[in-house]
Amino acid sequence: MLAVHQVSRTFQNGKAGFENINLQLQRGEVVGVLGTSGCGKSTLLRVLSGLDPQFEGSIRTEAERPEEAFGMMFQEPRLMPWLTVLDNVTFGFSKKQKKSEALDLIETVGLQGFEKHYPKDLSGGMAQRAAIARSLLSQPDILLLDEPFSALDAFTKMQLQDLLLSIWEKRRTTTLLVTHDIDEALYLCDRIVIMRGQPGQIASEIFINRSKPRKRGDHRLAELKEEILKELDFTKP
């Protein structure tokens, strides 16, 4: 579905960004990217989505028009301040066609009653939920999510993680999920790649052979978490 071969994008004379990334995503696979802050995770998503064309290496997709294959949710909500929540969710599409679908999504992310409000009326977490609804409406081949739940409280976060799971069940969207939350990655992903360093490189890859939905307290996941924490440890060379 997506083949990334020896892709590099560096800044500041090779001191920041990421380099030599190799990554293959199968159709329907959900891959998590974990890594310390500043190791180039957001930059990787920008390169994949086509926002940053100055990279080296090759990126191939199965889509006929590669530039249309990707949907993206940014680290910040990036809602249009002049559009209501409903218009933001249907942004880029005909409102008439997508209205009922959008209203469903707004309800699932718990924003019912706010359809006609402007982003200035929303809290940070609510804005993020509106952005999630927007990125889910577009139904891309490959969904890139940059820390989608980082601004949410623990409970809403779990609810939305379950929402993502149920949507994946239905659509089988291939997804690359950047996150700081190890539990989240373990709960949602089929595979986790761990990035380290400045510029960031893939340090290791962990397969999670557990069927979904998983139990959050699963002891196997706890063992994996231990392993990941060791991998992320800076003090280790």
Binding site: L51, E68, R78, F91, G92, K120
Partner: protein
């Protein structure tokens, strides 16, 4: 004068609660006290002979003279021609500013080509154009409308380009994720995002437009409120001058109020003090 173009005008509060309406009303009553007092004082001063009536006629004299002028239909002619000049000039200046502003704001090469020259022209106090325009286009309508258009052009142009340049790159990127064409990008992101500063530009452009119509009519006109002022000056009729000033104030206020309403209505999404409820 060109420094006026930078004035920021903010949308007025959207009053939606009855209490707020009441508070606002009593607020505007409060604002009336001083003008009413001054008018009464002025009336008293001219009647009791404190000030010479041939310099400062009483308010009632002003109103009576203007009413007499209105009855003959003459006043309406002056008002119509002045309004026509302002509107035609405003329209021409604003349209030119939108076309050039959009081009320089969106296409980098055009910006590099045109913007330095426009910025330099802007440094010329706009009233300095008056004699030149009178020479070039004669004393006809065209020169007056062009002058008003020049006055309107700069604030609209400057606000629009700075609005476009100030658009958050992050929002533009959202459009790129959706694979928008340039046209869609302009329609769905750039125009709405630049709208607030555009309307601010329109409002300061309009106030400059009024200033310029006065200048144009003072210098070369045979009709219009500005001409009426010159006429009043030459015939030692201060009531005509004062009456014209008051009419300018009234029409300036009305037209600005219209733009202000549009501003409030289209920008209610803005997160600022005025929109806080």
């Amino acid at each position: 004068m060109s420094s006026r173009t930078e004035t920021t005008v903010r949308p007025a509060a959207r009053v939606n609660k009855a209490r707020a309406v009441k508070r606002n009303l009593s607020g505007s009553w409060l604002g009336l006290i001083l003008p009413v007092f001054i008018i009464l004082l002025w009336e008293y001063a001219s009647r009791s002979g404190w000030v010479a009536p041939h310099l400062l006629p009483s308010p009632t004299t002003v109103v009576n003279e203007m009413a007499a002028l209105a009855q003959g239909g003459e006043l309406l002619g002056h008002i119509t021609i002045t309004l026509y000049r302002v509107f035609a000039g405003f329209l021409a200046g604003a349209i030119a500013a939108v076309l050039l502003g959009a081009a320089t704001g969106y296409v980098k090469v055009i910006h590099q080509l045109l913007d330095p020259m426009l910025q330099a022209l802007r440094a010329i106090p706009s009233l300095a154009w008056v004699p030149l325009f009178v020479l070039w286009i004669g004393i006809g309508e065209a020169s007056k409308i062009t002058l008003v258009a020049v006055g309107v052009f700069f604030p609209v142009y400057l606000n629009l380009t700075s609005g476009i340049q100030g658009i958050d790159r992050k929002l533009i990127e959202v459009g790129r994720i959706y694979n928008f064409t340039s046209l869609q990008q302009i329609k769905k992101i750039i125009l709405p995002a630049a709208l607030p500063s555009f309307i601010v530009g329109l409002r300061s452009g309009l106030s400059l437009g009024w200033m310029f119509v006065v200048a144009a009519e003072l210098l070369g006109a045979s009709q219009g409120l500005g001409y009426l002022m010159v006429y009043g000056q030459n015939t030692s009729a201060p009531s005509l001058v004062i009456g014209s000033i008051i009419l300018f104030a009234i029409f300036g206020k009305i037209t600005d109020e219209i733009l202000k309403r549009i501003q409030t209505k289209t920008l209610k999404w803005q997160d600022n003090l005025e929109n806080a409820s």
